[in-house]
Symmetry: C2
Subunit: 324 residues, 2 copies
Amino acid sequence: MQEDRQENATILNNIYNYSNYLSKKNFIKHGFRQFLFILIQLKNTNMFSRQQLIGQIRQKKSFLCIGLDTDPEKIPAFLHAFPNPVLEFNRRIIDATQDLCIAYKPNTAFYEGYGAKGWQNLIDTSNYIPKDIFKIADAKRGDLGNTGEMYAKAFFDKESSGMEFDAVTVAPYMGSDSAMPFLAYKNKWVILLALTSNESHQDFQLAPSGQRVLYEQVLQKSRHWGTAEQLMYVVGATRAEAFLNVRKQVPDHFLLVPGVGIQGGSLEEVCKYGMNKDCGLIVNASRSIIYASSGHDFAEAARAEALSLQLAMESQLKKSGFLK
Amino acid sequence: MQEDRQENATILNNIYNYSNYLSKKNFIKHGFRQFLFILIQLKNTNMFSRQQLIGQIRQKKSFLCIGLDTDPEKIPAFLHAFPNPVLEFNRRIIDATQDLCIAYKPNTAFYEGYGAKGWQNLIDTSNYIPKDIFKIADAKRGDLGNTGEMYAKAFFDKESSGMEFDAVTVAPYMGSDSAMPFLAYKNKWVILLALTSNESHQDFQLAPSGQRVLYEQVLQKSRHWGTAEQLMYVVGATRAEAFLNVRKQVPDHFLLVPGVGIQGGSLEEVCKYGMNKDCGLIVNASRSIIYASSGHDFAEAARAEALSLQLAMESQLKKSGFLK
């Protein structure tokens, strides 16, 4: 009952946000179409609420996300004897690690690089991920109005595109237009880029913006676009002290954290500065897990890496009091 | 001969930029792989130089780009009797308008929204566009290092992905990492988002950033990432007076200008403030052309709309002295 009420609140909130987002000028012209669009989304049946996510973390004692950045040139050579090497690889990785992680995150680039067949692999991979695991399309999309709606269809509307993720990463440069069409979907998530883990994030994200720097302004403005039930942020692990700062702006939101592992971020530091009472973190590792071995034992090696991270996470969850 | 020298200069410049972009720390680790990657790009045969682009503008008396934002729900109903309605629509639009425009620009969202079949339509559409017309993938991508390389493969490497565009639009939020893998391709273009035409561009693009606003800082920093032979900017037509400002930062670069037509921008104003000696503008129209009629005459109606824009552009090109 309480969950139902929460869901209804989220739906109403989505409608409210979406109608605010349409300017008054455009409302008469587009209003009816948008209203129909929202109604269509409401019939959406798959969902992944914040409570479910927290439940997964509690049950698995883990907040690990595994990045399925599958490069056909990097997978074990023996797989190339299979009809679909990439899909074979992904399936085995998922089979070997699904009890240790709470999310999978294919980065769309690795699939687009191989044309329509690659795109089909993305679809088949997303459909292979068990329903109780959070599915993130790391797509870093962002476009205006009617175009944004098409991107939302691509990642959230299985009837149209053949796949349905729970969340999509979005770039903020174009402003709220980029996020709103995704937020119009019931119990779907936008994960907005805030502070990324790459070196050149300094070019603009740390540029002074008024009294703040840009990524802080992104947090401050965008936190009103949706609730902490539908909006998360990407914050890279490579600058752990920044989490203190991030938490001042968005104490409740979940953060998706890349950069632990090969990129050098420290899990302990991230937890120290970034955790909140609901854990509030999804920490991603990609290459360090999926390419842990290039031999026949790649899936077992991936499991061992994932297990080691899960155990470290369990210890952090206990330390924080989230787990008894 | 002069063109060859220019090409070589561009290649060397790419190599120089790309090696700068690799930090010293990473160079030893990744340097050799990146070097091989650049060599592979050098064998690329299709290209579209700035001189060719200017030649097209001179020959066609036009700087029109047609946006192939093809929504299956908006195309004429009779096309749904064809085996592939979207492709049929795009082919007829291209057939009817190719002597009037210098570029086509499919927005990838409209293809991704329909799964692997949609992606195949994007590939088939890109391959149907005549080679002497500039092909822009309006993808607004942006990701780091190895992921960025995969996106570059998706849009520039036909052997891998089945399609080869001349240019791709890129979002700047993650900094130079987002652009460099694309710029490593010979005679391929990055079109970086600067000032977009949507309403919420104000959220961040106009936010004060040091002594400037953010989009000005994007121009100022990024203009050194590549030369005006390989880098353009998206500047929306809806704020024509901003072109004055843009031209102070990037006098030579071409600008891709959306927002003329349905979004209300004025061609005359854009030309007044945005043109340079080489024209320097590619003005895009999408819906006003491709959905000019919803009947059997849609291609003729699209041609009429394109012709009207081409004639207006011819007049502007004469006024500016670019055409005698």
